[in-house]
Assembly symmetry: C2
């Protein structure tokens, strides 16, 4: 927390706008945001190249080509879009809050849709090929993640986007919304790591241990996801990067002070 | 943050003692601590039962029985002891700070020693059986976790336990010490989940998908680790459970106020 600056909170219990001048710490934030986007795009490129080049590409016909949508859509949805949704309040510090909220909501529903299509691709592939569903630790943790995420999305929207919730409920629920948001994000990255591990052992078990290029690529994808998650978590939790209220968003009783 | 209570920080940038009366929120903390210890003990019991009953027990002879120390010691060290080390400042709120610091350090070095022995068991087993080292995503992320943990341990001890670091360095470094502490903890749980997935696919690939009891046991172990990590993360980050200075630990200039 920068000394001498007292953050103002609004009825969501979070800063409602941005009234800082650009400080050196803000420049660090911008650099980190650039690094995060580069890591996210790299992860998507790697998962696409892996599935397209090594795993036969894409289709929607019950074959392994249908399954390939699963890792691609999970990385796009539960990692890249979800991570960027977390960051909206840091990236658009100086925009009007309702707009940032709507963007946060839209990114999260896009993430949820991607993850649901990714789930359907897997179940479809399993059912078409007589493979059992929901037996692995990856599937157990993954299903819990998607259910928690859907709950979080419904509760978050009904509390913060729709106008029904009272101010004290918004304030009371905010620490939980934030905490579960980050926990679900961390769990979704852990689920990706298990999924990558599974897929490599199902497909290239014979050559993985002799450092096959496919294995190295997927390992690098896993590390990229971990780095992406670490940077998002850092930006989301650093105190002095929390969004501060815009001058026009400050409650009247505070402007009297 | 309880309204009207202004937390005092000392030269570590964290609360230095506990001067709260027991509030309802403190009782919730105690209940959660009980749940965490129960989950931790359950995880250790499950990993021991798995390796002893299904995987042939323990030895130190280069066989799979030597490998079995790896999951057991990682769960004990990088999850149970590490998680409890994070919690020391919450559990022993009303104890003198130096004692809590020493306990935090002792638990972390115990965790580090367990994890190093666990690594040796794996490398020993691999080398004795002509299995390649360090090819899997589990091993890549896992080695990074242990290296980051060792670095964090050295930096933490030299900054906060030894008397050389100046007050502003202690204050400056504390948010990073906390953030990396939790990131390393989350990464170690994710590494466990990958390790469990790997071991099941190496051993019971044929029966895992027909819901073999061993697979269900290990899946439950994985979920227990996730729950343990989630609760530890919650207690460690909830603002109003941070340790507050004991009356005698408050700096003189603050007691004048």
């Amino acid at each position: 927390m920068e000394p001498g600056h007292k953050p103002l909170v609004d009825d969501d219990g979070i800063g409602a706008g941005y009234s800082y001048p650009r400080t050196p710490s803000m420049n660090v934030l911008l650099v980190l945001l650039g690094v995060i986007e580069a890591l996210g795009v790299a992860a998507i490129a790697m998962v696409c190249y892996w599935t397209a080049h090594y795993r036969g590409g894409f289709a929607w016909d019950g074959t392994g080509q249908e399954f390939n949508w699963h890792p691609v859509f999970m990385v796009v949805g539960m990692v890249f879009l979800y991570g960027n949704a977390i960051l909206t309040y840091r990236v658009f510090r100086d925009q009007v809050k309702l707009g940032v909220k709507i963007l946060h909501t839209v990114l999260q529903i896009a993430a949820l849709i991607f993850s649901i299509v990714a789930l359907v691709a897997t179940f479809d592939f399993h059912n078409a090929n007589g493979i059992a569903n929901m037996y692995s630790l990856h599937s157990w943790v993954g299903l819990i993640v998607v259910i928690l995420f859907a709950l979080q999305w419904v509760l978050g929207m009904s509390t913060y986007l729709l106008p029904f919730a009272s101010r004290w409920i918004r304030t009371l629920f905010m620490p939980y919304h934030r905490f579960f948001g980050l926990v679900i994000f961390a769990m979704s990255i852990a689920t990706c790591l298990m999924g990558l591990t599974e897929k490599l052992l199902f497909t290239i078990n014979d050559t993985y241990s002799s450092f096959a290029p496919e294995g190295i690529l997927v390992n690098c994808l896993g590390l990229t996801l971990v780095l992406f998650g670490g940077f998002v978590g850092y930006i989301a939790t650093r105190e002095d990067w929390k969004r501060q209220p815009l001058p026009e968003e400050q409650p009247i009783n505070m402007s009297i002070e």
